[in-house]
């Protein structure tokens, strides 16, 4: 279980998160919604180690990991994707899965399910955005994430692409993984049947909910 306890985060005097409590249990699907600037991405960044909160703690299976660097959290199974896909323009996508051919072969069903095999030898600028998003998720899935945070995956995606993307998540996120989708649109969260929480004025609106 990954718990965020009493998180408080300020940006230049503005309180973005104020006493936020939430727990992520493996096997759950959770949607974090909220308008622009409500602190959704900040929450994700703190949970994955890319930011540190002023107050509060991040607890993984009872261990305090508040001050762990992001790469350590990633090794512990807390993975993420990015709102703006991040790829190296100079490398073919297969190399950007950052894994061995062996692991790719063993997980071929994921790559087939994501419909990305035809694009593995392309450069990022030759590939449409919905495919790049699926490749980003696949990259995380190949490393068997225990907690997977998706940051605004629907940004720049048309309704049909989003449907397809949701289908892919439903097929390949298993009971070993807690999926957290951070979004301001609700379509995808409904599609994957996520439990939805809303951030408003620095708080999770439904109060301190433990899932």
């Amino acid at each position: 279980m990954l718990e965020l306890k009493g998180l408080k985060k300020l940006f230049g005097g503005i309180t973005v998160l104020n006493d936020v409590n939430i727990a992520f249990q493996r096997g759950n699907k959770i949607g974090l919604s909220g308008g622009n600037g409500t602190g959704k991405s900040t929450l994700l960044n703190i949970a994955t180690g890319f930011l540190t909160a002023e107050e509060g703690a991040v607890i993984l299976n009872g261990d305090d990991i508040t001050h762990f660097e992001a790469w350590k959290l990633s090794r512990l199974g807390v993975k993420r994707t990015f709102q703006k896909v991040r790829f190296n323009e100079a490398l073919i996508l297969k190399e950007q899965l950052y894994t061995s051919d062996d692991i790719i072969k063993r997980n071929l069903h994921i790559l087939e399910g994501a419909d990305i095999i035809d694009y593995l030898y392309s450069f990022p600028n030759e590939v449409p955005l919905p495919i790049l998003r699926k490749i980003e998720v696949t990259r995380a899935l190949l490393n068997r994430p225990k907690y997977l945070f998706l940051d605004e995956p629907s940004a720049g995606m048309a309704a049909t692409d989003l449907h397809d993307f949701g289908e892919f998540l439903n097929n390949f996120i298993d009971a070993e993984t807690c999926l957290v989708v951070v979004e301001h649109r609700l379509e995808l969260m409904k599609k994957i049947d996520a439990k939805i929480y809303e951030l408003r004025d620095g708080k999770l609106v439904n109060g301190n909910i433990f899932v």
Binding site: W71, R86, E95, Y98
Partner: protein, 300 residues
């Protein structure tokens, strides 16, 4: 081969070590203006080991590698929180600090063949290893060139390793690197240290070949050239820096009649090449394209 040609080729080989050391740091995403200092430390170390202590060349070069990489390790720890412009300035300051310190190092011994040992601004004279062992310039070229080739072959093999791929990712995008569990810290430390060692090894060979070294030889222009060779040659493949060296020295030598105007030509050349090849001649993208072609050919 004429002595002139042998000398030029040897110089090209020796400066390639600096170019490769700059390349190694560029791979992890930093720009170092300080590799000349590690070259200098290697040179002084080798001079001390062979001329003062009478050690074997293999041991001397090993010392050169170890000591210069230790200094680089110190630099990498001191700059652990710096990147980009700040790292560049810090590396230059560190290099100048080391170089200027050499002006103060004095420990000389009188022998039959003259004064040996570091002697402040006058440098370290009478490094007679090459004469004592009857090494002709041609033979020395063979020694230097085979060292360089060994290094290149090693790097080419390592290029496909996880270590190098991760290092390149750290250099390109630390956030993605972190998100897949790669700690940038270790790669930066490792590559900056290795780069220092490579420069030091080259410096060691330089001291033996030149038979005389002084602090002013290891000024910033040496490092800038090394850096420029890597950038011209491209960061896609370990041969990039060598191509940079070849283009530059080859061209600069052929226009020696222009005397001091050659440096203007050098600057212009760097600019022109980077306009045509913004990422250097052997860019990472070019290497990826070639790899893709080869894969497709194999599958067909």
């Amino acid at each position: 081969m004429s002595l002139y040609l042998v000398t030029i080729l040897t110089n090209m080989t020796l400066i390639s070590f600096i170019a490769i050391s700059a390349y190694l740091i560029l791979i992890v995403g930093e720009v170092s203006f300080g590799q000349q200092a590690f070259f200098g430390i290697g040179a002084y170390m080798t001079a001390t080991s062979t001329a003062l202590l009478g050690l074997d060349i293999v041991i001397a070069l090993f010392f050169a590698f170890m000591v210069s990489s230790s200094f680089a390790l110190v630099l990498s720890f001191l700059t652990v929180r710096l990147s980009g412009l700040y790292f560049a300035v810090a590396s230059l300051s560190f290099a100048e600090l080391l170089r200027l310190s050499l002006y103060k190092v004095e420990y000389t011994v009188e022998t039959n063949s003259g004064t040996i040992g570091p002697n402040g601004p006058e440098g370290f004279q009478n490094i007679r290893w090459i004469f004592e062992n009857n090494i002709s310039p041609e033979n020395f070229l063979v020694i230097a060139l085979s060292s360089l080739l060994t290094l290149i072959i090693l790097l080419i093999f390592m290029e496909n390793s996880k270590l190098f791929k991760n290092a390149r990712l750290v250099g390109k995008d630390q956030i993605v690197a972190q998100s897949i569990g790669i700690g940038p810290f270790f790669y930066r430390i490792g590559f900056i240290t290795l780069a220092g060692g490579v420069a030091g090894f080259g410096g060691g060979l330089f001291a033996l070949f030149n038979t005389y070294v002084e602090p002013s030889m290891f000024g910033i222009m040496l490092g800038v050239h090394g850096l420029a060779y890597s950038i011209i040659g491209g960061l896609g493949y370990p041969l990039g820096p060598l191509i940079g060296v070849f283009i530059d020295i080859g061209l600069l030598e052929s226009v020696r009649f222009l005397s001091e105007y050659r440096m203007i030509l050098f600057g212009g050349l760097v600019a022109a090449i980077l306009i045509i090849f913004p990422e250097g001649i052997i860019s990472p993208r070019l290497v990826s394209r070639i790899k893709r072609k080869l894969v497709k050919k194999n599958n067909a």
